[in-house]
Structures are given as structure tokens and as C-alpha cells.
């Protein structure tokens, strides 16, 4: 399911595993619905809007290509669709900032989430990853 989600994000679609029986949106990805235990989950489009729970600037990372001179903002976002997701951000986002989740391709070529206060900044966020792909 994680693979399917990543593929949707790579294809530029903001989708999440969703239970076909009870409509619960699942994250982190799983093969079983956390609510009703159905295995009928499909990666489908969902409301990309949410609110920032908290944000942190990562100064220290285990990633080999991490640039310690440019702290990297990551936000936790409570989606209107239900789940909490971690997402890359352009800058430190205050608590309760309204954001839109967007699909991004990270520096190792995986599909990941971005969280933007202004959805027009998507290309700007994407370019931050472009150095090694």
C-alpha cells in the first residue's frame, strides 16, 4: 500500500488509501482499515486541505545528502480527511496555519507530501529537491 501511495504521488496525484467499506482515510499506509478491519482499501483522491499541528526545522539528519547548513522544515498536518501526515515545507509554519498538501518528488525519486500555505509555491518546493535527480 505504501508503494501504491508513492506511485500516486510520483504521478502528481494527491491520494491516500481509503476504505471502500467505511470511507476512513488511512495513514500511514496499511492493508487493513484501522476502523472496520476491511481489506478493501484503494488509493483514491482526498481533500488535500489541512491545518498545521506543529513544525520543526531539522538541523541534524541521517540522510547522506543532507545539507547541515540549511535546516529543513517538516510540518505535521491534521488533514480535513482525517489522518495526520508529516510533510515537507518551504519555511517554518505556525500552528493552525491552513495548508494544502501537494505531491512532491524527493531527491531519491520517491513520491512524498509537501505542505504549502500557498499552493502556488509547489514548484518552488519541488526545486529544493532537484539537486540530485
Amino acid at each position: 500500500m505504501g508503494e501504491k501511495l508513492s506511485q500516486a504521488l510520483l504521478a502528481g496525484r494527491l491520494e491516500l488509501p481509503t476504505c471502500q467499506r467505511c470511507s476512513n482515510v488511512q495513514y500511514p499506509p496499511s492493508e487493513i482499515c484501522r476502523h472496520c478491519l476491511s481489506d478493501a482499501l484503494e488509493v483514491t483522491a482526498c481533500d488535500p486541505a489541512g491545518k498545521v499541528i506543529a513544525c520543526a526545522l531539522v538541523h541534524y539528519s541521517l540522510a547522506l545528502d543532507f545539507d547541515v547548513n540549511s535546516p529543513w522544515p517538516i510540518a505535521s498536518v491534521k488533514m480535513n480527511a482525517g489522518p495526520v501526515v508529516f510533510a515537507h515545507a518551504l519555511e517554518f509554519l505556525k500552528r493552525d496555519t491552513a495548508v494544502t498538501l501537494v505531491p512532491i518528488i524527493d531527491s531519491i525519486g520517491d513520491g512524498v507530501f509537501g505542505a504549502l500555505a500557498n499552493v502556488a509555491d509547489r514548484d518552488l518546493l519541488q526545486t529544493r529537491f532537484n539537486r540530485t535527480i
Partner: protein, 390 residues
């Protein structure tokens, strides 16, 4: 005295082999801890018929392979993949098995080794959820979810970095009096804490544990056996383990302690105010605060006030807290970190600690927390211990 775990005691506390890096494997650490427990208790190896083991770095070996390595014939073999909650859970399950007559003596051991790079590997492959939903977000390991959690806690309650710092500074003072604490030679004051380099703000250097190697362990047996061995022991008055509590909270600012803490005191027929010694799980100082609040040492959101009003040192007036220095100053030896608190509590209550012996240590609260899966820790535990034969 209540009788939830009547007739069962904990004894022979051992902290073994703490070091930053080691070439030795888990069996070396666990085996040495076991040998030391036999020496302390006077038991023969053949008396051990139960083993409860917590380890992250045992693989590709298993708990069953440890039975073979140590030449033990066992009737109970408990694997405890619960990280920081595992020490209390080991005591609880072992006590039940002894009480039921399934086994005579259970050796409970948390042990892990540490080589350069092993912590990074553990973090990168910790769980499916962390691989899918956490690691791709700047590969910050547990520092990311705990930074987000700490930020949420500060936003909600107005807590300042100084308040977290008080916990870290007091623990370092305790470590300065504890021989096996790896950071025990280094003093720490609040100014140094505040000036430390950023890791994932609000987390800075002294909010984060240093991974290391080591083992922590204790024995569980019937009281009559401990009496006949003529060794010091403690009672386990009450204990709980809980998993995935308050799962719909958007941020984890409480866990099993808030749900089951009141019943824990009730079962032990005691109150928060009557506790002499508190050993919390301190992977990050904010988690210490959640445990203090959940276990009713103070109200929700009031832990900053609590740490301002209490010295938290082994030699302070109020309750002593994390008397060995905790993981923040001893080091985090993987799953042994989940045993550090309960082993130190047994040592303190039986008055076998060293220079860091608390003057009042007749009763102890030990809390555990473990297995950060994506954005929260899934396991919580707590126990109340009291003096048996000291």
C-alpha cells in the same frame, strides 16, 4: 499490604557494561548480566527457568538462541519488543508467571550492543510506518516526531526550554554521582543546556540521548526463595501495560498513564504524594513531563511548574527522580533503556546504590514508554514498588 502480586519479589539489580561502542554482541552483554545476577543472588544457573529479554540488536539470533547460548532449560521465554516500556512489562509478566507457579525464577534482561552506524540502521528500518511516513521527511529519526510533540506541548501549555532544561540538568547532577553513567564525568548547567547546538528545534543537544551499549537486568522470584537466599528484595505492588491508548488524539500529549494511573495507585494502596522515588522513561524531557502528569504528580499541563518546584535530585527534599542520571546522562543502550528505571529503583529501594543513594527510597514509581511508530509511542507501562527485605 494489598495482594495483586502477593508473594512475588524483584531482586538482584544489575547494570552491566555501559560503553559508547562495543565489539561484543548482545549475548555477551546479556550473559554477563545473568552471571552477575547469579553472583548477587547466590542462585545456581539451573535455578533459572524463565527468561524475559528485550533487545533491538539480537537479530539474527532470537531469545530462543539465548537459551542455548547460556545453557538454560526454560519453561518461560518472553520476548519484549516494547522498547522503553519493556522493563516494567517484563516484571509484570514474570511476576504473573511466578505467582501462577509456571516458573520459579525469571531473569529479566534488557541488552543491546552499539557499533558505529547501528543506530542509523535501526532508525532507518524501525517499522513500516516510519519507513513510509517518517523517514522520507528529512531522515531525522525519532528526533522529528519528538520535536513536533515538544513543540505542540510548548504551544499548548506555554512551557519554556528552561523547564525541559531543569530535568536534564538535575539528571546530570545525579549522573555525576553514578559510576556507570557514561556522561557522569561531565557537568551540565542550565546556561550550557540552553546554548547547546540545535538538533531539531525545539530539541537541542542535551534533549537527546546518546546511543550506547549495555545491559540492565533483575530477577523475579517467590518471596520465600529470596528469604532463603538471604538477599535484599522489593515488592511489586501494582503494574500495568497498555498499548495504543488515546489513538485518536491528533498529538500524543498523554498515554496509558492518564488512563490507568489512578488504578495503579489504588491497587498499591498508596498515593502520588507518598512516593519517595520516581523513575521515568526519559528518551526526551517532554516525555518525562507527560509521565509526571499522567501519573498525577501534577495536573495536565503543570509539569513545568512541578519541575520548577522540585529539585529532582537524588539528594533533594522532595521525591528523587531518575537517580542514575537516566538515559539522558547514562546513555541509551537500546532496549536496556527500558530497564534502566526499574533496575535503578530496585537498587535504590534495597539501598544498594552508590554515591547517588537517595535517603528516602521506600517506595518507587517506575514508568515506561516505547516504540515510536510514526508520530507516537505505542507502548506505555508503570509499576509501583516498595521495600521488602532491605
Amino acid at each position: 499490604m494489598n495482594n495483586v502480586f502477593a508473594g512475588v519479589v524483584l531482586a538482584a539489580p544489575v547494570s552491566f557494561g555501559y560503553t559508547r561502542y562495543s565489539e561484543h554482541g548482545v549475548p555477551w552483554f546479556a550473559g554477563n548480566a545473568l552471571a552477575e545476577m547469579l553472583r548477587l543472588s547466590g542462585l545456581e544457573k539451573s535455578s533459572i527457568d524463565g527468561l524475559a529479554i528485550a533487545s533491538f540488536s539480537l537479530s539474527p539470533d532470537t531469545p530462543a538462541s539465548l537459551a542455548e547460548y547460556f545453557g538454560l532449560e526454560l519453561r518461560l521465554l518472553e520476548a519484549l519488543p516494547f522498547g522503553g516500556a519493556s522493563g516494567v512489562i517484563a516484571a509484570r509478566r514474570a511476576a504473573r508467571a511466578v505467582q501462577a507457579g509456571d516458573v520459579e525464577v525469571v531473569a529479566c534482561i534488557g541488552a543491546d550492543t552499539s557499533k558505529p552506524g547501528t543506530f542509523s540502521q535501526l532508525v532507518a528500518n524501525f517499522s513500516t510506518a516510519t519507513m513510509d511516513a517518517s523517514y522520507p521527511y528529512a531522515a531525522a529519526g525519532p528526533n522529528l516526531p519528538f520535536a513536533l510533540l515538544t513543540q505542540s506541548y510548548m504551544d499548548r501549555y506555554g512551557t519554556q526550554r528552561e523547564d525541559f532544561g531543569r530535568i536534564c540538568v538535575a539528571q546530570r547532577y545525579n549522573a555525576n554521582h553514578c559510576d556507570y553513567a557514561l556522561l557522569g564525568q561531565k557537568p551540565l548547567d542550565l546556561a550550557t543546556y540552553l546554548a547547546a547546538r540545535s538538533i531539531v528545534p525545539p530539541l537541542h543537544l542535551f534533549d537527546c540521548v546518546m546511543p550506547c551499549a549495555g545491559a540492565d537486568s533483575f530477577l523475579v522470584m517467590r518471596e520465600e526463595q529470596a528469604l532463603s537466599l538471604n538477599i535484599p528484595y522489593v515488592y511489586i505492588n501494582s503494574a500495568f501495560e497498555a498499548f495504543n491508548v488515546f489513538s485518536s488524539d491528533p498529538v500524543q500529549l498523554r498515554s496509558g498513564w492518564s488512563r490507568y494511573g489512578a488504578a495503579l495507585y489504588e491497587q498499591a494502596d498508596t498515593t502520588p504524594a507518598a512516593i519517595d522515588l520516581i523513575e521515568t522513561y526519559d528518551d526526551y524531557p517532554v516525555i518525562v513531563m507527560l509521565q509526571l502528569e499522567g501519573m498525577q504528580l501534577c495536573d495536565e499541563g503543570q509539569a513545568a511548574r512541578y519541575v520548577q518546584d522540585h529539585e529532582l535530585r537524588f539528594d533533594s527534599e522532595g521525591p528523587a527522580h531518575n537517580t542514575s542520571g537516566g538515559q539522558l546522562s547514562v546513555g541509551q543502550a537500546g532496549a536496556a533503556g527500558g530497564f534502566l528505571g526499574i533496575v535503578e529503583a530496585i537498587r535504590q529501594i534495597t539501598r544498594s546504590a552508590g554515591r547517588n543513594q537517595a535517603s528516602s527510597a521506600a517506595s518507587a514509581l517506575v514508568t515506561g514508554f516505547g516504540m515510536i511508530n510514526y508520530d507516537r509511542g505505542l507502548c506505555s507501562s508503570a509499576a509501583i514498588l516498595s521495600a521488602g527485605r532491605v
